[in-house]
Amino acid sequence: MEQLENAIELKNVTKRFGKVIANDSVYLTVKKGEILSILGENGSGKTTLMNMLSGIYFPDEGHILVEGKEVTIQSPKDAFDLGIGMIHQHFKLVDVLTAAENIILGLPGKGALNMAQVEKDIKELTEKYGFDLNPAQKIYDMSVSQKQTVEIVKVLYRGANLLILDEPTAVLTPQEADKLFAVLRNMKNAGKSIIIITHKLQEVLALSDRVTVLRKGKYIGTVETSEATVESLTEMMVGGKVSLDIHRADPVDPECRLKIEDATCVNHEGLKILNHVSFEANSGEILGIAGIAGSGQKELLEAIAGLQHIRSGKISYYPQDGSTHTLSDMKASQIRNLGVHMSFVPEDRLGMGLVGKMDLTDNMMLRSYQEGSNPFLDRETPKNLAKEIVEKLDVVTPSISTPVGRLSGGNVQKVLVGREIASDPEVLMVAYPVRGLDINSSYTIYNLLNEQKEKGVALICVIEDLDVILELCDRILVMNNGHITGIRDARKTTKEEIGMLMTKNTEEEK
């Protein structure tokens, strides 16, 4: 076998977003005709790194070498010209056009189109690598996996030699994933280089030649897949224990507040996003939910809050007064009035719960506008509440009549969590409460949550950072692929154990 050349080499690449270092002097090499996996938790900088290769971001420091020559990639077009093509998680396709039309979109060539010829060219390409694609089919008639095929063929048709796939199997069924792997192996044998970004250990072991591991933006190392095991990769991915010293009181007389029995939720594509989920949440306790993004955490909280219909199972609520309610039969507003509150911090932080263009007072009113029998709105109470939150939580804002969208992320989150706490909930669900916050703001939020816990509130927190979840929570529920893969005592478990549960293969158990 001839010596494999490096198709791409990244040296010392660093990317900062403001104060946050997304990639801290990362090294990466991809040889010709190999499949490289990039492995890492959420927020470890995998996608940022690849976006620098595909021209979406520009590195602050470091060098990129393509076939030994140093290059600068300033736009997706530059990347194309260098033969680098990226397949994003969100497909960029025009629905009403056919596969072939999408593939040739924007390409130079003769003015008059000869679709028969184009379709023939595409057929040739798909047969070469073993894709299953009908070039004349409209995109809106296609399944997710077919759309992905179109994206891959599009990149190949443009002459890419290096393909980057961002979590390609996240949207596929296991059978479709196997088909994709077969095609990727064919491409590798034809001399193409492939990088796949993933957090599924099984896939890494099954598909790739080498693995590069990133953790919190830092380059951890590269190993040959043949020498790696699930355990060794998990250790590289999550790292050792880091102590954060978050104050954690022991739960006082925990009582069952919420009981979820065998809940199943199905999304519009027919996939089970919650798969026979059962657990309990107790008062005076923080239940942490860990899992790779999109494992069903959001749906679980939404099901409890009544925003997501569950197909089977039962959600019961036992408030302090001794009564019993079946939440799974109730509307979201009724559930809220019973004292079960949710605050969800989405990726863009504002999308759910707050209206960016409205000021603090108005955002408080979103929760209270239905109260009272007066036909006119009561603006005094929400105004006082806004003032109180600003003072108590040190929200940095020019005034309470400033649009929430102008506040910094941390302050927006304080407002969001503060508003939910202000109405004295009995069950408080928070998702990603410290997403994107610096250390100090994070601690303010942790303290808020602990305060609620000591008051006897049952808290459920979805948190991405494993170090935090281990320090803050009393029990940790781990989800993968809609299943609960384990519930552990946070004081006794280890990061490695949680990491293993997060990637535990749920398909094999059946």
Partner: protein, 326 residues
Amino acid sequence: MSVILVFLQKAIAQGVCMLFGASGEIMTEKSGNLNLGIPGIMYMGGIAGLMGAFFYEGAVENPSPVIGLIVSAICAILCAGLGGLIYSVLTVTLRANQNVVGLALTTFGVGFGNFFGGSVSKLAGGVGQISVATTASAYQAKVPLISEIPFIGPVLFSNGVLTYVAVALAISLAYFLKKTRTGLNLRAVGESPATADAAGINVNRYKYVATVLGAAIAGLGGLNFVMEYLGGTWTNDCIGDRGWLAIAIVIFAVWNPINVIWGSFLFGALSILYLYVPGLNRGSQELFKMLPYLVTILVLIFTSFRNKRETQPPASLGVAYFREER
């Protein structure tokens, strides 16, 4: 028989103006711009063409009909294109609301037409005095010889040159959208500008060019009305609501330029039907004038009912595109 003949002739004459407007609007809408300024832009094209011919005929001792035709057509295209440019600057570069800009442009265009129409009339010696008969004669000239064929001749070949230009334009627009690379790119811009952008298409350039060219085509509709239908003169609000009917035809034709051809002539027929149905009084005439709008509503109901993706408007119609907004 002769009544039917006249009715068909008039229906086609009525339809040409709308055919231009609708073709221009389709071209514009395929780029994702909903240009509701088309009715105003047709006024701008009409008055500019008329003024061009008027000043040409005034400046030359023995004006040639052909040169008058060329001068007025260029004036109409430039002025209407300017309307499209105003719209593009406001909605594409400054990302203003398309509906608001479009409606404002229509109000502006009608006023623009009436203002200059009045001014030129005054120069010509008083209200209704303006006449560019020489130029108009070039627009109204029938196709020689074959227009003499019985029945077919009067209906199909006794129209002015712009009628055939309009049909040819609609057919080439259909070919352009369906069979050329640029047409495919344009459709992608209107459907999903982010996808087009990622594929290396200059979204703003496509939007600008399609909107300006679309406006220029619509301007020819105004020119046709002023020159061929009115015979080279001007009265206030003369084009009426034919621009709005043109936009209705776009919906009626489900964004297909071939459908626009027969759709325009059908709308032309429907809009004058009240003159040819015997025994109508003032009240029932108004009911007949509603027919084109009624047909549009029926088509809308029918197409949403069938819910076929090909008969839907471009997916990002009316939405400004900004790359960094995700």
